[in-house]
Amino acid sequence: MLLATIFAYLVPDNFFLTEALAILVPPNKIFLSMQPKRFVFFLYIWLLPVMASAQGRHVVSGTIRDRQSGETLIGASVMLMEIPYAAVVSNSYGFYSISAFPGRYTLVVSFSGYTSDSIAVDLAKDTSISITLDAGSRQLQEAIVTAGRNNNVTKPLMGVQKLSISEIKDLPVLFGEKDILKTLQLLPGVQSAGDGNSGFFVRGGNTDQNLILLDEATVYNPSHLLGFFSTFNSDAIKDVTLYKGATPAEYGGRLSSVLDVKMNDGNNKEFHASGGIGLISSRLNIEGPIEKDKSSFIVSARRTYADVFLKLSKDTSTNQNSLYFYDINAKANIRVGAKDHIYFSGYFGKDNLGFGNTFGIDYGNVTGTLRWNHIFNSRLFSNTSLIYSKYNYDIRINSGNNNIGITSYIKDLHFKEDMQYYANASNKVNFGIDVIQHTTSPGVISASETSSFNPLHLQDKHALESSAYFSHDLSLSRRLNINYGLRATAFTIMGPGDFYAYDKAGNAVDTFTYASGKVVKSYFNLEPRFSASYKLTAGSSIKVAYTRTTQNLHLLSNSTSANPTDVWIPSSNNVRPELADQVSAGYYRNFHDNQYELSSELYYRDLKNQIDYKNGAQLIANENVESQVVFGKGRAYGWELFFKKKYGKFNGWVSYTLSRTERQFSEINNGSYFPANQDRTHNLSIVGIYKAGKKWTLSADFTYYSGNAVTWPTGKYEVNGQIAFLYSQRNTYRMPAYHRLDVGATLQGKKTKKFDSNWNFSIYNLYGRENPYSITFEQDPDNPSRTRALQYALFRWVPSVTYNFKF
């Protein structure tokens, strides 16, 4: 019925599409031209049947927080013990709402890493109850309480992985720098982009097909130091959720996955400082109330100091080099009355590499998010966000006569409105809109008079990405839960600028000039999302899901390693939106009072309009960069197995993925499917954490994966006196398999009320395996009559020690 209503409004009138169009032009009137009346009318009609089902019930709603710090808890489970099948989960701001017919109930709240709580509720009218939980998971007494912990089984959402910071803090990592992106790579369906690298591939997607959000702001370059560290300072992070393709309708813009990272709000009860001193970086975190229980702030900062060691060098050409990054996360929030809450959060990160005066590059992300939560009533929650995001790089070259600067950026201004309507215990509706104004500056070159290069200003590109979505969580029976939704996206390329048409050889044959504010081209896409779960027993279920995603920003990168100068280009008259359709099915089982969690998922993904590059593609500072790419398709399929022990003295997980990832381009391998670079058949991770008494926590992780697909020579010949290699087919060889074991230990210092500290020791790659990072081919310098293959390995036996404190 509801579905019919929605489609009646969507399909014949193209309602969302016309709304989206109305939002689009002109950009300076984004928020004014929305035709709010029509939109409200639409929502009203659509919500009517849902609202009707809310009749006769009362609501208990509120916010769930940590008792000591006042931090809101995301994803806590809330249920009425008398009707346990109708559990809800607190939203991104800790808000929950659950409704039932009048009566006496017991409200049970539980959250991983916290002691569960239950409260008697006499539901005679709509009631507001805010709940605080104590950190520390005491042994659970009642089986019924743990029933709320099996959301992974009962909720239809699949392909989702959550990480809590407490889970990652004991794991051994490279250079002792806790890193959520590296820990994610130990989960099924997620692959590392290389040894020690924070870049990742999800279910056969490319790294640019992951949407990475920090408090809703897109992070365009999620790594520091060319990929070896992530931009996320784990001190500042509260919650990390990865959606592997089956993403809810409120997210869009990337094909492969959504990584939603949420920052801590700050302690609103008392001041605290914490930090860590490591071999390669140090961190400091300060938080506290602005006005107790009403408002708080948090500032987290860190800086690496590898360059300090460079300064110690007596060699002048070494000690003038710089090599560091720093980042700052800051957030403040204030509660205004009972119904409103305002948050401001920001991130600023910068990498700086330089060789004396001759070469330097700065790059980094800046994000800012202003959010306003408003509770219209106990059933309707709203969040309005204004978001800013920018990534830029700035290169300076000063070599002989050549004084050159190169800059580039991508910048988003983003407005977002999300509403959540909790109709009753078995009906929840999310809906909203967002509009992003993208501006990219692909490159500006400034050059001195004497330079060998000309100054150049590549055209800025402008686009508007507007979306509207709804999704509906529906319990059809005690066993069957579904979620269906639709996201409509309009991507509009705007003037000013020249746009080109290219012939087969890549020569511009036609130029179209557009004035400022003129629409060059629009792409509309409907993205249906569907998932369903069917409970087999109290602790087990099967689920299926179908998701379509689209992507209109594409990262141009043809090197093996993450490069800060890779450029994002928007869809255009030549570059069409990338499309992906994913179907997945899975089996989920929790046992031993939800102490153990088992899941097994199958997925198949079909990819269209995928991008590759012509031989010798010129991607840097090229106005005609779109003539350098070729378009094809792809497919990815696999089986993921995940087994986790969640509680107890010993916990950890085993994750295994069997997968295949292929691409097809008419220009490559005679148009047949070939394995993508990131295709790895087997992926295995084993993680174990053991609490050995009060003082020591020991941990270890083991990783194994099959080698990447690579292209190696099938012969050699001589050109101009040089040895050149003959290549036959793309990606027909395999790198050797990768495996390594890391171990770590945390020594807890004396804990007092005022001061808490620990030492963290780890060794990365304990048995010193030489995992090949790359294999290259060259003429043997010692014996020019032969050629040889050289293997490079990076990290062996990397020890680290970090001292962490909190007061």
Partner: protein, 265 residues
């Protein structure tokens, strides 16, 4: 962004490299044709060899018995004679800037053809030297100095002859895509410490046409420059201007040269 790659290399304090044995397929012998015609006086040479498997010695069998013709757009034509096995020389042809040359190679049942247009010459003013590099890696690099003609596309290829021997480790190509009309003083970036103070160096400068530039640019990219991070994601054979699947190139180019002693002022 080569300097970035240097940083990467230095991060990997624990990095190590070693030779590995790989079981590489053999695609069988392929025909490799290298043909040149310049504005210097002839004879001009076309070389034909075969490719060999990766594990073989670096000796590439000469291919004899080809019948080769080169003609220009002014009606001159020349049949080449095989002066030594696999090496074919012109007899009368004189290269001239602005002319388009067509090479045809008949070998058994296969015909390979290519065309190339000789650009107009650019004057090489001087060769100077510069120290460059980071992390104590102080390479000496040669810098050819010349004026790029404005308004037209120019492509340059350089060969270094160090103490009389061709430096075969690196490919030096420039285009003026970002430098049209500029006075060029760009380093020839040797990947190793190739040049040393006091060496005698000849730098040969060729003005080449666009397909030949693309060929060498792609050859450079596919080869990488060595090092852990400096590998092309998906190396491929450069696109040759010779038809019928032959490897190699046919280039009509101008020839200028500068000789000097390696010195840092």
């Amino acid at each position: 962004m080569r300097p970035i790659l240097l940083v990467l290399a230095s991060i990997s304090l624990y990095s190590c490299k070693k030779e590995v044995k790989l079981n590489l397929d053999d695609a069988g012998p392929h025909i490799v044709i290298q043909g040149e015609i310049t504005d210097a006086s002839g004879p001009y040479i076309v070389k034909i060899n075969q490719s060999v498997s990766f594990g073989s010695e670096n000796s590439f069998p000469a291919v004899s018995g080809a019948s080769i013709k080169i003609s220009d757009n002014e009606g001159h034509a020349d049949s080449l004679t095989e002066s030594s096995p696999g090496v074919y020389a012109t007899q009368s042809l004189q290269g001239k800037p602005g002319n388009t040359y067509t090479m045809s190679v008949q070998l058994l049942d296969s015909l390979y053809t290519a065309t190339s247009t000789m650009p107009y010459p650019v004057v090489l003013d001087s060769i100077t030297f510069r120290k460059a590099g980071a992390f104590g890696n102080k390479n000496i690099r040669a810098v050819p100095n010349f004026q790029d003609p404005p308004g037209i596309k120019n492509y340059y290829l350089f060969n270094e002859y160090l103490n009389g021997l061709l430096v075969t480790k690196d490919i030096f190509v420039f285009d003026d895509r970002l430098s049209d009309g500029r006075y060029f003083s760009r380093d020839l970036r040797n990947s190793d410490e190739t040049l040393h103070e006091g060496d005698s160096l000849e730098v040969q400068m060729y003005c080449i046409d666009e397909p030949v530039f693309n060929y060498f640019n792609q050859l450079d990219e596919a080869g990488g420059r060595g090092g852990a991070f400096n590998t092309a994601a998906s190396p491929a054979n450069p696109v040759s201007n010779i038809s019928n699947g032959a490897l190699g190139y046919f280039s009509a180019h101008t020839f200028r040269s500068g000789k000097t002693k390696v010195h840092i002022e």
